[in-house]
């Protein structure tokens, strides 16, 4: 965590409820200007809901019951829907997992990018198209003039994600939220999109909150990582510190389950025993307790707070001191 700079985006105690269960439970993290924060976790751990909640775009079934999202000095959760609309796309943008489905199939990409610019800027159509053309060049799309007049179905997934990024960034927001932006793409295209995002951070100073389940993506792009498990942050740390010295059993086991190049052929990959608890199984204690080799009675009864381990590294575990045992299990 970059403690020197004051955070640009500050999420505090964000809690989202679906049908009475806290699917996002007290999530807090800060993102400094020009930094990349990764939210990592398995499917259903609440990372995508967290990202939607940042823009006030939760699905109908979900409801934010507590917490604040501060962008600089403004609390986005205190804004009316009307004020929030002015912030969306202009101050904070989001791109989604399925780039081709995120574009209107019946409208040319040029019209969609230009419309995104016109939503927040009172300019003529031709000015908006000029901006769109410039934006396509910025996200590395060759021959922008031709692309502007094409429809989403004429473009590849990677190309569509570049279009989505240009729509998201055309009004120069300070924060870009990227919900699994590379999951639906081929591996080579993934790398290109990540490179593009890194370049954007460097050139424009845009902060990024990237949601992923892919540790490779985290290692590639993130400055800080928050590992989420069953709606809560298990561990949050600068990326190097997290990979080198995980302070939460879940993170350690998760890292151990990533296949390695030197993994012996025809042997089982490492897995974490058990499964993620369902909403109705959320107990009072640590939600990872049932699968954790270090779990004690206390873990099942009392929820661990995020303990500060120094250097911006924090972990929600009662047994941080016993982490060497995990390393033996994981190895």
């Amino acid at each position: 965590m970059n403690t020197a700079a004051s955070p640009l985006l500050s999420v505090d105690n964000l809690t989202v409820e679906i049908g009475g269960a806290n699917v996002v439970d007290g999530v807090s993290f800060d993102v400094a200007p020009g930094k990349v924060m990764a939210l990592v976790g398995e499917s259903g751990c609440g990372k995508s809901l967290t990202s939607y909640a940042l823009l006030g775009l939760l699905p109908d079934a979900a409801r934010r019951t507590a917490g604040t999202v501060r962008l600089q000095d403004r609390d986005l959760t205190a804004l009316s829907e009307r004020q929030l609309r002015k912030a969306r796309g202009k101050e904070i943008s989001i791109i989604f997992q399925e780039p081709s489905a995120s574009l209107d199939p019946l409208t040319t990409v040029g019209a969609q990018i230009a419309a995104a610019y016109q939503t927040h800027n009172n300019v003529s159509r031709s000015e908006a198209y000029d901006r769109a053309r410039q934006m396509l060049a910025d996200v590395g799309i060759p021959d922008p003039d031709r692309r502007l007049h094409q429809y989403p179905f004429e473009l590849s997934g990677g190309m569509c994600q570049r279009i989505m990024i240009s729509i998201a960034l055309i009004c120069s927001p300070q924060v870009l939220v990227a919900d699994e932006p590379t999951t639906a793409l081929d591996v080579t295209i993934q790398a290109q999109i990540l490179d593009l995002m890194k370049k954007l951070v460097a050139d424009r100073g845009t902060s990024i909150v990237i949601i992923t389940h892919d540790m490779g993506v985290v290692a590639d792009i993130a400055d800080d990582v928050a590992v989420m498990y069953a709606g809560r942050i298990a561990e949050i740390a600068p990326v190097q510190s997290l990979f080198d010295d995980p302070k939460h059993p879940y993170t350690a086991l998760l890292l151990a389950s990533v296949p390695k190049l030197h993994h012996a052929p025809k042997t089982d990959l490492a897995t974490i025993e058990g499964r993620v608890p369902t909403l109705s199984e959320f107990g009072a204690g640590c939600r990872f307790a049932d699968r954790c080799p270090l779990a004690t009675e206390k873990c099942r009864i009392e929820q661990p707070p995020l303990f500060d381990c120094g250097g911006g590294h924090r972990s929600a575990c009662w047994h941080i001191d016993r982490m060497p045992e995990i390393r033996k299990v994981a190895a």
């Binding site: 829907e81 969306r88 202009k90 489905a101 995120s102 574009l103 040319t108």
Partner: protein, 306 residues
């Protein structure tokens, strides 16, 4: 694109010939019109002579081929009852049916589509429930019953509207509503489903993420996407309206081709019935071809791939 148009044209011809053949056979199985044309006390020779004069003594396949041969020369035959070209009789009634169908279509689309949009976007509201009730009523009350109910309430009891005939514009109101009600419900339901389906798509969320309100997303993106299935329905409904006119025109004594069809079937006036059937099937085929052309206009995926 050209290939596609040619293909559609050939399909259309086959469909029309198929319908025509079935109607031809069924009409001839229903009996010989000669008996209805001769006086009660006609002798067997007189009947036989008239029959041979009209050509009904020939084998059915000869009559059929003769009829088809006539069609290829745009000869639709003579009405056996009135002894004038069948096409002329139908043509004289057609404007009334077009007028009625247009009125009904106006009711169906003008009420159905906005109702569908409201039902999809204001789910759970009071107005949605009211509209649902109206749509279910329109869908479940049979046309002949709704026609008679309308006549009873607005024609007989309140005396606001004429009960029959095709004189002034006010005479069109009740038949248009009665004929359009079922279509209106179909449009409302289809529009609602199409919009709800579109609202669940990712681009709606993406549109809101760029700062558009839900209403803006609906008007800029959703309606156009949802229009594709509705266009299909529109094409079918226009044909259905013509078919429904048979009942409504009878109920309201409306002098269109629907009433003519009933009269001609009763008098076994084959050739007039066949012209009407040809016309209705031609309209079905034409509207579905038109719908395909509209798709091409609305959806670039069809336009550019084909």
């Amino acid at each position: 694109m050209i290939n596609y148009a040619v293909q559609r044209f050939i399909q259309a011809i086959i469909a029309i010939v198929g319908v025509l053949t079935i109607v031809f056979v069924v009409m001839h199985l229903s009996g010989d019109p000669t008996l209805l044309l001769v006086p009660q006390d006609a002798s067997a020779e007189m009947i036989a002579e008239l029959r041979s004069q009209l050509g009904f003594d020939r084998p059915i396949y000869v009559q059929y081929l003769d009829y088809i041969y006539g069609l290829t020369h745009l000869d639709f035959g003579m009405s056996v009852v009135q002894r004038v070209p069948a096409l002329d009789i139908v043509a004289s009634r057609l404007p009334y049916t077009i007028q009625l169908a247009a009125g009904a279509l106006l009711v169906a689309i003008g009420v159905g589509i906005p109702a569908g949009i409201i039902m999809a976007t204001m789910r759970g509201s009071v107005i949605e429930r009211i509209l649902t009730a109206i749509v279910v009523t329109g869908q479940s009350v049979p046309t002949f019953l709704s026609g008679i109910l309308l006549i009873f309430v607005f024609g007989v009891t309140l005396r606001w509207l004429p009960t029959s005939g095709a004189g002034e514009l006010s005479a069109m109101i009740m038949p248009s509503i009665a004929l359009g009600a079922l279509s209106m419900s179909t449009f409302a339901r289809m529009t609602r489903i199409a919009i709800i389906d579109e609202l669940s798509k990712d681009y709606v969320r993406a549109g809101r993420a760029r700062g558009l309100s839900l209403g803006q997303v609906v008007f800029r993106h959703v309606l156009r996407n949802a229009s594709i299935p509705v266009i299909t329905i529109a094409a079918l409904e226009i044909g259905n309206l013509l078919a429904g006119a048979v009942i409504i025109e009878t109920v309201f004594a409306w002098p269109g081709i629907g009433q003519l069809a009933i009269q001609s079937i009763q008098s076994r006036d084959f050739l007039v019935v066949q012209v009407i059937v040809l016309l209705i099937s031609f309209v079905y085929v034409l509207t579905s071809v038109l719908a395909d052309l509209v798709y091409v206009f609305v959806d670039p995926r069809i336009r550019l791939v084909r």
